[in-house]
């Protein structure tokens, strides 16, 4: 390799390392703090590695508050949302992509417009509506507002529209109903989009603090980020060690899940065409 090429590569690598460091430092600091004894956390000297590993932070995280309960709530809420989102988005996207009907263009335009509205805008009417229905402080309150995902409909519509028309016709000839085509033919062939959407949806709702803070006050229904706050709100002030331990625990499933599905996730967004 020429000296010039080597220099170029070094520069590229340096920039990438800097970027990675900026993103990763808070996480490294979180893990570092979660393993330090309380005395060391507030010491004025900067040390990255703890002098001794303080596992008790993790034990406290699980004992002081029901962290396992928060994790379970997170799983129930996230997968509940994802299940209903797919249940609605797949047939809706199929109809928008494949079926020809009046006002299709208008409906798709509304879906696109829906993409522009942040859900915080609708938070107050949603809260009032759920209150009327006496659904506040239930899992339903955490799930129902999110089951119609315009992003999911849009993503799947784009994917379904790229499916060869012959494939859909072949399925019709073979005796599949339109619903069956949506689920048996279009859905399995859109798996990169499904994976990408699933990651987006789960990450967004696992990390969401805004809505759980509004919709539930019962501690047993708290999602992980809401649960972490209980370390700060207690009368003793912030208990940083266990707080960081809890934060590490609730972040771990997302990081693991992303690493497992990384390749499919990227495929979902590069939208590589379907080969017959």
């Amino acid at each position: 390799m020429t000296a010039r090429g080597l220099l170029g590569r070094t520069a590229t690598l340096a920039v990438l390392c800097l970027g990675a460091a900026i993103v990763l430092i808070p996480f490294v600091w979180m893990i570092s703090l979660s393993l330090k004894p309380a005395a060391e956390i507030f010491s004025p000297d900067f040390t990255l590695l703890p002098s001794q590993i303080a596992w008790q932070n993790y034990i406290k995280a699980f004992t002081e508050v029901p962290l396992h309960r928060f994790l379970l709530n997170g799983v129930i809420v996230c997968f509940g949302i994802l299940f209903f989102q797919l249940l609605l988005a797949v047939p809706l996207a199929y109809a928008l992509a494949v079926r020809d009907f009046k006002l299709r263009g208008l409906l798709f335009g509304l879906v696109l417009a829906g993409l522009l509205v942040p859900y915080h805008v609708t938070a107050v009417p949603l809260f009032l509506g759920l209150a009327e229905l006496k659904l506040l402080n239930t899992y339903s309150a955490l799930i129902i507002p999110f089951i119609a995902s315009v992003f999911g409909i849009f993503l799947f519509r784009q994917y379904f529209a790229a499916l060869p028309a012959d494939l859909i016709d072949a399925a019709r000839v073979d005796g599949l109903s339109e619903t069956a085509i949506a689920w048996r033919i279009a859905f399995p062939n859109a798996w990169p989009a499904v994976t990408a959407f699933a990651i987006f949806s789960v990450v967004a709702h696992w990390n969401d603090l805004f809505w759980p803070l509004i919709a539930v006050s019962d501690r047993d229904l708290a999602t992980p980020p809401r649960g972490v706050l209980y370390f700060r709100d207690e009368e003793a002030g912030s208990d940083v060690g266990p707080l960081m331990a809890a934060a590490t625990v609730i972040n771990a499933p997302l990081v693991l899940g992303f690493l497992l599905a990384q390749r499919r996730f990227i495929q979902g967004f590069t939208m590589s065409g379907l080969k017959g």
């Binding site: 012959d166 016709d169 073979d174």
Partner: protein, 383 residues
């Protein structure tokens, strides 16, 4: 028997098909032939029930099928792109239409199908049918592969298998060979004809390749600009084309169309040696002579200077310019001497086999060319 009555199909302002009427006999092999964009695929989709005519009716064995879906008409279709389900194995692809017919909603449900005894029994039966078809098409060893792992010819067979497995009333093929290379196309052509013989079902075959249509079919429907031009057996299509455009479309070699002046029965040069058997109105007539029907002959009636020679091995294509100004191309056989550009070549043709068309409408004229009376050119006769 499938009957189409006055089928028209419009897409917005453009008319894809206009007033198509057609009868397709049971167990026949019918080709829909035409250049791309002529509406033949639209017609096939209308027969299949994937598209609906703007007006007109379709009858299957005398029954109007307007409101029946593709599946209810029980037709099978092979698509140009094969349209195999990419996420299923070949076995899954071929079994799906069977499962849709034999099993109920509950028995097809993903997990339940493994548990219900009736679903398992039917799955075993279906699998036997799949393997029978695979054996017929010689694709047994491919059954557990995904479509992406198959070659073009193998995909083709899998697609045919999926169509054949459920005993359809009619078997529709939409340009199924156009994605294959030339050699494979020839082999598959023969296989499809064999398949038609062994199954004895109605085949409707869409193609833009006249050689495919001519070699495979009992009946060829020539469609151009959304209209049926002619419906005939391949031989009649070649011998008696209904219009100039049909004549030009059918056959391996180009047809010479010569516009010549006519006075009742007498034709202007270069056709002074022949006359019409019946007098026709009009001042000009188009004489169509197939280039393979022109042969070099010392006493040939048409003589011209050679402008171009294309040597092809088994045959030679020559283009001549006649003194009358007409251009003529001819196919010389292997036995004929290969001529040289610039030479004068004399060609003879059988006048009775020339076709006559109206120069304005392009429609066939029911008259024949016959040799002029022997007395007019006695010298030629004696040679």
């Amino acid at each position: 028997m499938i009957e189409l009555r006055n089928i028209s199909r419009r897409f917005g302002d453009t008319s894809a098909l206009s007033d198509v009427s057609l009868t397709i006999e049971g167990a026949s092999f019918t080709s829909l032939l035409g250049p791309s964009g002529c509406g033949k695929s639209t017609l096939l989709r209308i027969i299949a029930g994937l598209d609906h005519p703007t007006s007109g009716s379709i009858l299957f064995s005398g029954r109007d099928v307007r409101d029946l879906s593709a599946a209810e008409r029980n037709i099978a279709m092979v698509f140009q792109s094969y349209a195999l389900y990419p996420h299923m194995t070949v076995r899954g692809n071929i079994a799906l239409p069977l499962a849709m017919r034999s099993m109920n909603r509950l028995e097809r449900f993903p997990v339940l199908s493994e548990l219900l005894p009736s679903a398992r029994r039917k799955a075993v039966e279906n699998n036997l049918a799949v393997e029978r078809i695979a054996a017929l098409l010689k694709i047994e060893e491919l059954l557990d592969r995904k479509p992406s792992q198959l070659s073009g010819g193998q995909k083709q067979r899998a697609a045919v298998g999926r169509a054949l497995v459920r005993e359809p009333t009619a078997f529709l093929l939409d340009e199924p060979l156009s994605n294959l290379d030339a050699k494979l196309r020839h082999a598959m052509r023969a296989e499809i004809v064999d398949l038609h013989r062994t199954t004895g079902r109605t085949f409707i075959y869409v193609t833009h390749d006249q050689a495919e249509a001519m070699s495979m079919s009992d009946q060829v429907v020539v469609i151009m600009d959304g209209k049926v031009q002619q419906v005939d057996a391949p031989r009649d299509l070649y011998e008696r084309p209904a219009s100039r455009s049909v004549a030009a479309f059918v056959g391996d070699h180009p047809v010479n169309f010569l516009d010549v002046a006519v006075d009742r029965r007498q034709l202007a040069p270069p056709f002074e040696d022949v006359t019409l058997d019946t007098a026709i109105p009009g001042r000009t007539v188009t004489v169509g002579i197939r280039s393979e029907r022109l042969h070099p002959a010392a006493d040939g009636a048409l003589a011209g200077r050679i402008e171009r020679v294309d040597y092809l091995g088994s045959s030679t294509m020559v283009s001549l310019r006649l003194p009358s100004g007409h251009r003529l191309s001819a196919v010389l056989s292997e036995q004929d001497a290969v001529p040289v550009e610039g030479e004068i070549l004399r060609l003879s043709f059988a006048p009775q086999r020339a076709d006559l068309f109206d120069p304005d409408s392009g429609q066939r004229i029911d008259a024949r060319l016959v040799p002029a009376r022997a007395s007019s050119r006695p010298a030629r006769r004696d040679q």
